[in-house]
Subunit: 409 residues, 2 copies
């Protein structure tokens, strides 16, 4: 053993080994029995949480002698629903839920009314300004979202200048496995987050990198570049990137979603930047655009107003057709995109795919269906699919996977 | 207004606007008065926390009618120290600390013994398997760590194949501003995390991207590529990237820090990969290596055993000289690196910089000083600097900034 190995024996490392041993033990819960409490290390939670049993029941645990009420809420049930944990005489709080379907879930605890992530779980995800813990119940429905032993693409956090919005801004760019090894040119998907999100959302909650890696490896999707811009027109980058001093007078104003500014900037700033800096098939038939919720509305306008630029359009759970506050029935396709109904043939000719999805339990669903029917009555080619779920990421991940599998073919 | 703007009026967006308005208000606290409670939105904390007063006192707030004891702990004080919050009759818990020196701080609450991030603060950082909230007290000491209006470099989360360790692995690669616009070749720094960390640590807790952007923009550091590998020899990538299903039987074993495997792989796998995929000045005088704590030990061995490959070596807060459990006084330089003392002249000739730092309150400090004295007595050129602080990131951020400013000159 080298002398420098002594260095690994500092407290951090020892504590961390226990912690990681804990995680590892959790992972083989189906074959061994683990105690709810591992040997206590100072400063570390060693409570096994979450624990998934072989029948997909999930046990959450928290340790507190003092707390009065602890609940857990997760996106396995409707928004706002929660389950109480029960305390035993050692101060260990527990609840077992499920069985839960294989899925990539988010959840959080409420400890005496205070929302908190699970202190025993190292997997966390940010949703706008809030954090949740991650629970991956393994199985067919979640395996597309995990890092598998396949060739991996890279993700670059990239800054570009936007003359249109008069600032340097950040976006994420996914390049598929092999991009660095060959001289091929690739098609590009421009993929947009929803209201309250930013350029980070698809790569974290959306698992877009893993979905693309896995589908490409399986031969189900063509290798492509995926550009994930920040669609909030007055935001430089995600708040977590900027991390401005809390008191700074130069802090940016709250994000101003979309508007003409962003719509112009993608065409004038982002596409030229990407085509100058990446090996790209720079023609209409190799450009796709998609987005969820707010980003679906942006996609509708940007895509259909620029059919000379985009041949593939994907709109997931947009509220523009109705079903959201103030939006019931106000959608007028022909006013929004002149010619969309009256000259549908020219749109059909330009577009290779006009694809719309919505969660079947989303209040937007029936309005989206109605809009799709209007499109079809006017002979505008459109594919519409519903996925089980409300206005939530499990719908958008499935929408993305289904959309990717159809692109550039 | 376009019809699709209705889409922004869904609940998520409205809630988020309030939330972000809250953040914005916080940022101008020095010129306006903000209420401790903003209008309550369902599911959102609207408590202003943390709030920094003009004299750098910091107020933390949490809302709970039920909690018994709430404390806050932060790296502004020694490890483990905490301050109690006090509850008023509306259930608002408050404590005001400081004044605090300008710095990039981490902190967390303990709510009835349960560690939690600040639910009102969107800025969070991961330290191994645990999360903390971020407090940036603005001023000279923290301005190097913030995103400023300067040209920005990009950060790529990159996968490479390691034949030595027999797996595809991930690292982060920083390319400086302008890399995409010119055809220049750049020098490279290989920068290593500590025990319990991974390839994500320097870019998050270490603010390496912002430090490099700002120093390069000020002309204080040369434009360079910074490669941040994962130094845990049996880890594919950070746990947050892999996010394996909790029950997977294929989950990786706990990270095995360093060892010969990683040391071999950086020379055989990582350097060739970088030099094949980036525009790099591929010679000894343009290669630097550095690391903190465990990564400092790795750097010592890799750097000094490969002086034909590296001309610049930076070791921050390594425990290999002593000062950690089991490591007191065991360091034997000549055994570790044959010739280091007896043939110091040849090391002086190969190296352009042999640079060591340690926190002045770190138990490793006196042992590091002793080792440095031994080096000097044997005419080995070395620069040693202490920075105020213990075994913690504020020391490592200053060490990195000071090291970067000396490289490749």
């Amino acid at each position: 053993m080298n002398t420098y190995n002594l260095n690994f024996m500092n407290n951090n490392f020892i504590n961390n080994s226990f912690k990681l041993a804990n995680i590892f033990l959790l992972s083989i819960v189906s074959v061994v029995t683990i105690p709810a409490q591992l040997p206590q290390q100072p400063g570390f939670s060693t409570t096994a949480s979450p624990e998934i049993s072989p029948d997909n029941k999930v046990t959450f645990r928290l340790y507190s002698k003092e707390a009065a009420v602890i609940t857990v809420s997760g996106d396995w049930s409707g928004l706002g629903a929660s389950e109480q944990l029960v305390k035993n005489d050692t101060g260990l709080w527990t609840v077992t839920l499920g069985p839960l379907k294989p899925e990539y879930y988010n959840y959080y605890f409420s400890v005496d009314e205070i929302r908190t992530i699970d202190p025993s779980n190292p997997l966390t995800v940010r949703d706008g300004a809030r954090y949740a813990s991650v629970l991956v119940v393994p199985g067919r429905e979640s395996e597309l979202y995990t890092v598998k032993n396949v060739p991996h693409g890279n993700l670059t956090k990239e800054w570009y200048n936007s003359p249109t919005l008069n600032m340097d801004r950040r976006m994420y760019v996914y390049t598929p496995a092999g991009y660095n090894k060959n001289q091929d040119k690739y098609p590009v998907l421009y993929l947009h987050h929803g209201g309250g999100g930013d350029e980070d959302a698809w790569a974290t909650m959306g698992r877009a990198v893993q979905i693309a890696d896995n589908l490409i490896a399986q031969g189900k999707a063509k290798p492509m570049i995926i550009v994930m811009p920040n669609g909030n027109a007055n935001e430089v980058a995600a708040i977590t990137e900027v991390q401005r001093a809390t008191r700074s007078k130069n802090a940016p104003p709250p994000p101003q979603a979309a508007g003409e500014g962003y719509e112009t900037s993608i065409v004038k700033d982002i596409i030229p930047y990407i085509e100058a800096n990446y090996r790209v098939l720079a023609s209409q038939e190799y450009r796709a655009i998609a987005g969820l919720s707010m980003g679906g509305g942006q996609t509708f306008n940007i895509g259909l107003r620029n059919t000379d630029k985009f041949a593939w359009i994907g709109i997931f759970s947009s509220g523009m057709f109705g079903g959201v506050q103030g939006g019931y029935g106000a959608f007028d396709p022909e006013k929004q995109i002149p010619g969309l109904l009256t000259k549908s043939g020219s749109f059909n000719q330009s577009l290779k795919l006009f694809y719309i999805t919505c969660g079947e339990q989303d209040p937007r669903y029936e309005y989206t269906q109605k809009a799709v029917n209007t499109f079809k009555e006017n002979k505008l080619d459109v594919i519409f699919k519903g996925f089980p779920g409300s206005h939530e990421w499990k719908v958008w991940r499935l929408s993305l996977a289904d959309f990717l599998a159809q692109l550039f073919k």
